[in-house]
């Protein structure tokens, strides 16, 4: 038995431990608190990396809590697993890695960004709780625990969005998010309870092996699909997103971007791994495609006319999630026909997963750049900014990289994933890539506006003495810039070593089931 065997438990345990140790550690002084915050986030990143290496170049990891052995999912005499179970395949490991990178970058950024504010104990505890919730969603192997992790991340995010309690907008944003989120959570619980009532199990692999195509199953699928589409910000259930992203402290917004990806993970896991008999080749794929197209187009239309920088980026998040929903919807439509899957479905899935990772990196970076501008100028209003590139060259440079990537400009990573989505969705209908390309053009237009308004032109009178962001904030941004550039320069390596395996894990449902259920 080695530490490697316990990595699935460690990836959730570490942030939880961080959350509960925070009140004690934060009392020991600012320096120790900051070291603890960054070090713990880095440890989480190392664990996520180790899991990634073990899963991408090995086999799915299964971890059982509370049994005689952590490696035996199905004790003798049992037909179905009964204990808390974690199962990490390449898809889960990929999303967990994105969350850990964003969490580390957000932690580095927050050290300087939040320095002048009080309430650090609450901030750190909630930050680690949010990380734990999001990571748990990607590694859990049972639906009830998935619900628990969704709630952990939701409750932590309500607190963090409303962190600046003296701002009415922050309280309002958090309340609206909480209101709809709790309705969604109740529906999710009802759906999971219904499955448990019928199948006597909440283990995803067991449910997948038993799932039939019936009335009850379809109702459950519809409920789970809508709840998770809401959580990842799909139109028309997206309205909470720009408010919450704009009002949360920027380090948290960086993490919230990847938390929405954890919901995306859940949505795709449910469609591809638990309900493939209903979802593959049927109406569900088309529902995702329609959600995707509406999110892309209406998200970017709202973004292009905003002049509050974080709000503008919040609307772009909706638009970017649309690309992923479109791609994975195309994959689902193609899934029932092996020929279509080979011809375009698998490319769409790889493109969608590639885009999910790209989005996590460059969108988190864009939010950090927006936070850096707010830190330096004290405003989020683009009308009041101008000429900041001279005084903030590093922020300007990293913003250009992220903006070019999200706009899909070659040779950046955003172009590569969008190109794969355009080509594969064209096989279904030409209108789909057309909508995606229009969205991309409008994305470029709105980020050209942000760059022109904030960084170019003559300096505004009040901002002549503005200084570059502190080192810790730049370091947080640099982590995401390096990740974006790696994805840009080595797309071939990432696709063949990671995205292909993650997409393969979704298509090869039998191996997901077999890892837990053995030969059943």
């Amino acid at each position: 038995m080695s530490i490697q065997d316990h990595l699935p438990a460690l990836i959730v345990m570490l942030p939880l431990l961080g959350a509960f140790l925070t009140p004690a550690v934060a009392s020991l002084g600012k320096k120790i608190r900051n070291i603890f915050f960054v070090l713990f986030s880095f440890l989480i990143l190392l664990v996520a990396l180790s899991i990634g290496c073990a899963v991408f170049w090995g086999s799915p990891m299964v971890y059982v809590m509370g049994g005689d052995s952590f490696a035996i999912a199905l004790p003798s005499g049992m037909s179905y697993p009964v204990r808390i179970l974690f199962e990490i395949d390449a898809f889960g490991a990929l999303l967990a890695l994105c969350i850990a990178i964003a969490s580390f970058a957000g932690a580095l950024f927050s050290v300087a960004y939040m320095d002048k504010f009080s309430g650090w104990k609450k901030y750190l505890s909630l930050y680690f709780m949010l990380t734990a919730g999001a990571l748990g969603m990607c590694v859990t192997g049972d639906l009830f625990n998935f619900f628990v992790f969704v709630e952990i991340s939701s409750i932590a995010s309500f607190g963090l969005v409303a962190f600046w309690r003296d701002k009415p907008e922050a309280i309002e944003a958090s309340f609206k998010y909480m209101l709809v989120s709790q309705i969604a959570a109740m529906l999710l619980l009802i759906a999971i309870g219904t499955l448990y009532g019928k199948y006597n199990s909440v283990t995803m692999a067991a449910l997948s092996s038993m799932m039939a195509d019936g009335f009850l199953e379809r109702v459950v699928l519809a409920l789970v699909l809508c709840v998770l589409a809401f959580k990842c910000g799909a139109f028309p259930m997206h309205a909470w997103m720009p408010d919450a992203y704009a009002e949360a402290p920027t380090g948290v917004t960086c993490l919230l971007v990847t938390v929405s990806q954890a919901s995306f993970y859940g949505l795709i896991r449910v469609c591809y791994s638990i309900f493939p008999k209903i979802a593959a080749g049927g109406v569900v794929g088309w529902i995702l495609i329609v959600f995707g197209c509406m999110s892309m187009f209406f998200g970017v239309m709202m973004a292009v006319v905003q002049h509050e920088i974080k709000r503008l980026m919040g609307y772009h998040s909706i638009s970017q999630v649309g690309y992923m929903l479109l791609a994975l919807g195309v994959g689902l439509v193609a899934m029932s026909d092996q020929q279509n899957m080979i011809a375009y479905g698998f490319t769409a899935m790889k493109g969608g997963l590639f885009h999910a990772v790209n989005y996590s990196m460059y969108k988190a970076l864009l939010f950090l750049c927006a936070g850096s501008l707010y830190y330096a100028t004290g405003t989020r209003n683009l009308d009041k900014m101008g000429g900041l590139a001279r005084n903030m060259p590093w922020t300007a440079g990293m913003f250009v990289i992220a903006a070019a990537a999200i706009s899909g400009l070659p040779p950046f990573n955003g172009f590569v994933s969008k190109w794969m989505i355009y080509e594969s969705s064209f096989a279904i209908h030409p209108i789909l890539p057309t909508i995606a390309m229009i969205t991309s053009v409008l994305t470029l237009a709105s980020f050209a506006k942000v760059f022109q308004a904030a960084f170019l032109g003559p300096a505004k009178t009040g901002f002549v003495a503005v200084r570059e962001a502190p080192g810790f904030m730049l370091a947080g941004m640099a982590v995401l810039t390096v990740a974006t550039l790696l994805l840009t320069f080595f797309p071939g390596w990432f696709i063949s070593n990671i995205f292909e395996k993650a997409a393969g894990a979704l298509v090869d449902n039998a191996s997901y089931v077999r890892a837990v259920m053995g030969g059943i």
Binding site: C226, V283, H307, D383, G492
Partner: protein, 115 residues
């Protein structure tokens, strides 16, 4: 290859683009090198030409604010923006309503939709 991917319809190679950009950049640098370097510094030749007027010292007087960007686009799309503004009412009960209606619609589609 590390930098090349094939989609089944075509291929993408980032190195080709980098070579392309390097070529274009060299061309731009060459064009720039043709410019005259014998201008007189710290004279009127060095000043920004702003339609013959004195350049205001406050940047806000000569820059287009972000809220005015794409004004024409917004005017052209006015009917759509009216609908979108109405949709984003800011009311929590509206947002809960959109969610419930979407759940109902998706539920209906999944139930009546075939394989």
């Amino acid at each position: 290859m590390l930098s090349q991917i094939n989609s089944g319809f075509g291929y993408w190679n980032v190195l080709v683009w980098i070579v392309f950009f390097a070529g274009i950049s060299s061309f731009v640098v060459w064009i720039r090198s043709l410019g005259r370097m014998d201008y007189k510094r710290n004279t009127d030749q060095d000043e920004i030409y702003w339609e013959g007027n004195e350049v205001p010292s406050d940047g806000s007087a000569i820059s287009v604010p972000a809220s005015s960007s794409y004004w024409g686009f917004r005017v052209a799309m006015e009917p759509l923006y009216k609908l979108l503004d109405k949709f984003h009412s800011g009311s929590g009960s509206d947002y809960a309503g959109y969610f419930v209606v979407t759940v109902a619609l998706v539920g209906l589609l999944v139930l009546i939709g075939g394989k």
